[in-house]
Every structure is written in structure tokens, then in C-alpha cells.
Amino acid sequence: MTNVMDPRAEASDAVASRAEVCVVACADAFRDSGEMLASAFGTIPAIGVRLARETFSPDLLISDGESYLVRGAWPVGTPATGEVEAWAPFRTIFDLVWHGKRHVMMIPSQVDRYGNTNISAVGDYRRPKVQLLGVRGAPGNTVCHPTSYWVPRHSTRVFVPRVDMVSGVGNDRAAQAGPGASRYHDLRRVVTDLAVFDYHPEHGTLRVASVHPGVTVEQVQAATGFPLEAGDEVPQTRLPSAAELRLIREVLDPRGLRDREVAG
């Protein structure tokens, strides 16, 4: 019997855009998280965590992007309007990072096959070709709590054989660095505009978990600068339910900011 309370079970008549498929893929990364601080960078992950909380992960905690944890569902790109449930200035966030009840979704500039990521600098470190943000909290995040990534434009520029500056720690590097690094290291998903990835349980390497509607595994491989793990039957990323589409379109992103991040 179909459980109508589960948004996955509802068939949707409306055609979902690629951006909307990405939103639910990001939301699904936060499924079954329980009470956990969900920190999302980027428009589509920000919609995704709010969608997850409105539907199947009601216990998630979400920041207003400044210093408060706020309940409710408000549109991306607008100030938070819900009830404040905690004061969380940066040093409280830092404490929660090391405590571990946080799942972050970051946007890497480079990713390798073991999930090492770079947000610091491209090229020679002493004189980079492209200076980026700096490592920010990526080294600590990745060795302390669950980490996922969002790549709005999947390409061989992002998915590289070797990242120039390991900011977020991948599975191989965490294992090599010993239990201090690996004990709480927990890479979860990589969501891109083409596909969803998890990691091979033994090899620790990126594995195609699903491809978005209209995308083939071959296309994903062609846009990736290293060999991907993929089973014989790679499923399609699930489509948003009608209820999810309504939430995305009417409540969480009425201005359609998601389409600026992923077109089509």
C-alpha cells in the first residue's frame, strides 16, 4: 500500500526542471539525519535543506546565514522569518563543527576521485594562478562531521585527477593520516547538475549513485577527469513529488533563483 505521507510515493504530473531534481537530490542527502545542524552553501542546497526539514527530516537545525538558528520555511535570497531557536555566532558554530552534529554541503572548486576538495588556490601554491577563498573550515569540517558537496557545473575543470590544495580531506588522505583524521571522517554525497555520487565502501572512490533524467553515465564520465565507479544498472535520480514541487515553487524559491544556478 502506498504511504501518501511520503513525498517519494506521490507521482507528479508537473515536469520537474533539472534544478528541481537537484534540489531533491540535495534534500535526500539530509534524509534520516535526526537533530543535526544542516549547513548548506549555494542556492540549490539551501532550498534542499529547507525542503528536507519541511518534509522528511523535520528535526534539522538551520542557520539564517548570520548568527541565529531559525525554524520554519522562508524563500532563499530573503531574510529568515521563522522563530529563532538558538543564538549561534561563529564560535558556537565552530564548537558544533568539532562536536560533530553537523552536516555541511560545500561547493568545491576541485574534487578528486577520493573526495579531496580544493577551495583555496589553483596552481602553484606560492604564486597561484587563481586565488580562491582559502580553506575556511573545510579541513576541520571533513575530519569532524558528515560532509557532502554540491557542484553546480559538472566538468573536467572541477572533477580533476589531483586537486591543487587539499582543503577538504578525502577518503584516502583521511585513512593515511590515521585515526585522528579518520575517526569522525564521513563523506556522504556529491550532487552535481548531472548526477548524484556516493563512495565505494571499500575503495573510497566516487561512485555514480544516480544520473539525472536525460543524462547518461557516459556523459557523466566524459565530464569527469578520472575513472568513475558505476554499477551495471545506474538508476535515475528520483523526481520531485507534486508536494515537493509545490513547496519549491511556491514557498522556498518563488523567485526561481534555482534556475540561475542550474538551467534547463
Partner: protein
């Protein structure tokens, strides 16, 4: 009780080239910009700057004041990257010591507590350790995991900006986040605090909880009243970030002529001249 009021020029006269200076705030939020601008007007050079970087770093880079940057990131928040900082890095003009942002906090805290190090997992497995070969790991004496021993980040001077202060050096934040300003002060030999407004001590808590008095006078060397002193970064609730001005600042990095024009208009004169130019710009925009 000591009256610690001084001018921004007094502050800068106590700094010397080659010093290690910590700058409070975060990204493009509540930065001691009036004090930073006073450094731009000085002949100070070869500074080591320790900060969660914003336009303070970009301006100091553009003026050639920084020899070494100790940082976790440099961002303008609403503009992800600071183009002046990027230009300096991409020209190989500055040396960097890049830490995870939690490690930076730990370094300031270790200095403030006069500890040889504080342990952390952050950094393990990442290239933060590769590019900072001075970092060591330490075995847990109780048999647990080996972790990074984050060394103290001692500062010769700290510069911070608060919403309110009294003449004795008690400082108050009224916005949503104290950031790490108290830790910069604890880590420093001398700490200088600018503020929007100096008030009698009793007035600080007339309408605000005493927990907002984050900066204690025993940590502070000098207090500077600098209205609009965090401009163009945010200083809520007194004012938000001047996004329009920040766009002009970032855009002026595009070519040397544009930057020269920006400098001529805003950075050639005194702080009063700067504030007058900002006010005039504001009038133009709204006219």
C-alpha cells in the same frame, strides 16, 4: 580609573614596521576600517596580518603593507572573493600562512591563555599541514588519537571595532555576533579598540544585557571614537554593509587607472576627508 581615549593617529604611532597585527571582525563585517585606513596613510610596512579576512586585507595588500598574511579565508561576503587580495597572491607579492578557521581561533586562544599549543583534529590529512611544515602533531598522553598541536598566534597589536565602549576600554557589541574580537585582544601585547560611540559605563547596560560587554578593559590599551569607523563593512545595528560602495571598491581592482581614481577620491586624505567623500557619494547616488 584610566582614561584610554586616543586618536587613530595615536594608535598607528605606536605600531612599527614588521609587527604582527591581528584585525578583528569577520569577512566584511565589523572591521576596524578607520584604523586600517590610518595604517594606509602611514609609512608602516612589512606587516604580518592575522585575520578572518575581508576588505582590510584587500586594502592593505593593494597598499603594499603586508609581507605575510595568516588567514583562514578572505571574503567580502556578498562578493565571494576580494580582487585586491587575489591580485597580490597571484603576483606572488605576499607570503601566506593558511589555517583552517578553527585552527586560527585556537591559535589566538592559545596565545591568550599562554599555552604552548591547543590540540585539534582540524588540519589532519589536509594540505594545511603540507604548506605549514612548522606544524606538529602530538600524541594524546591518555592514549587517544594523535592530533595537531596548534601553536599560539602571538600578536604585537590587535585592532578591533565595537558598537559602543566607555573611556576605560570596556567594549560592547550590539550586533548578532561578537566574532573573535576578545580573543585578538587576549592574544596581543597591545589592543586598540575603535567604536561607533563612547558612552558613560552605566549607559552601556541601560538597555542591553551585560553579556554584550564582550571586551573587558583589562585587555585594552586604547579606545578610539570612530563614527562610521567600520565603513564599508557592516556594523549592525548601527549600519549595514555599504554594498554599493563595496562593489565600487571591488570593481576598482579591474585596472590600475580605476584603482588610482578610487584612491584619489577616497584614500588620499584624512579620515574626515574619507567620511566626507562617502557622504558626498551617497548624495550623488540618491540624487
Amino acid at each position: 580609573m584610566a582614561d584610554k581615549r586616543m586618536t587613530a593617529q595615536d594608535v598607528v604611532s605606536r605600531l612599527t614596521s614588521g609587527m604582527t597585527i591581528g584585525i578583528g571582525g569577520w569577512g566584511s563585517r565589523r572591521k576596524p576600517m578607520a584604523l586600517v585606513r590610518e595604517i594606509l596613510r602611514s609609512d608602516l610596512r612589512d606587516l604580518t596580518v592575522v585575520t578572518y579576512g575581508g576588505p582590510d586585507v584587500g586594502l592593505l595588500c593593494a597598499a603594499g603593507k603586508i609581507r605575510k598574511l595568516v588567514f583562514g579565508f578572505v571574503s567580502l561576503d556578498s562578493i565571494a572573493l576580494d580582487p585586491h587580495f587575489r591580485a597580490a597572491r597571484q603576483a606572488g607579492a605576499i607570503e601566506v600562512v593558511e589555517y583552517d578557521e578553527g585552527m586560527l581561533q585556537w591559535g589566538l586562544y592559545a596565545a591568550g591563555l599562554k599555552l604552548p599549543f591547543l590540540p585539534t583534529r582540524a588540519g589532519l590529512g589536509s594540505d594545511v599541514l603540507t604548506h605549514n611544515p612548522h606544524l606538529r602533531t602530538v600524541a594524546d598522553p591518555y592514549g587517544g588519537d594523535e592530533v595537531v598541536a596548534m601553536p599560539p598566534l602571538h600578536l604585537d597589536a590587535a585592532l578591533i571595532h565595537m558598537n559602543r565602549a566607555d573611556i576605560h576600554g570596556n567594549g560592547q557589541f550590539l550586533g548578532p555576533d561578537p566574532y573573535f574580537d576578545d580573543l585578538y585582544c587576549m592574544a596581543a601585547e597591545q589592543a586598540y579598540m575603535s567604536c561607533e560611540k563612547i558612552l558613560p559605563t552605566a549607559e552601556l547596560t541601560a538597555a542591553a544585557h551585560p553579556a554584550t560587554l564582550r571586551i573587558n578593559r583589562l585587555l585594552v590599551t586604547g579606545v578610539v571614537e570612530a563614527p562610521n569607523g567600520a565603513h564599508f563593512t557592516s556594523c549592525t545595528p548601527d549600519y549595514d554593509r555599504d554594498e554599493d560602495f563595496q562593489r565600487e571598491y571591488a570593481g576598482a581592482a579591474a585596472d590600475p587607472e580605476a584603482w588610482q581614481a578610487f584612491r584619489d577620491r577616497y584614500l588620499a586624505g584624512s579620515e574626515a576627508d574619507y567620511q566626507a567623500a562617502v557622504a558626498a557619494r551617497c548624495q550623488e547616488v540618491s540624487a
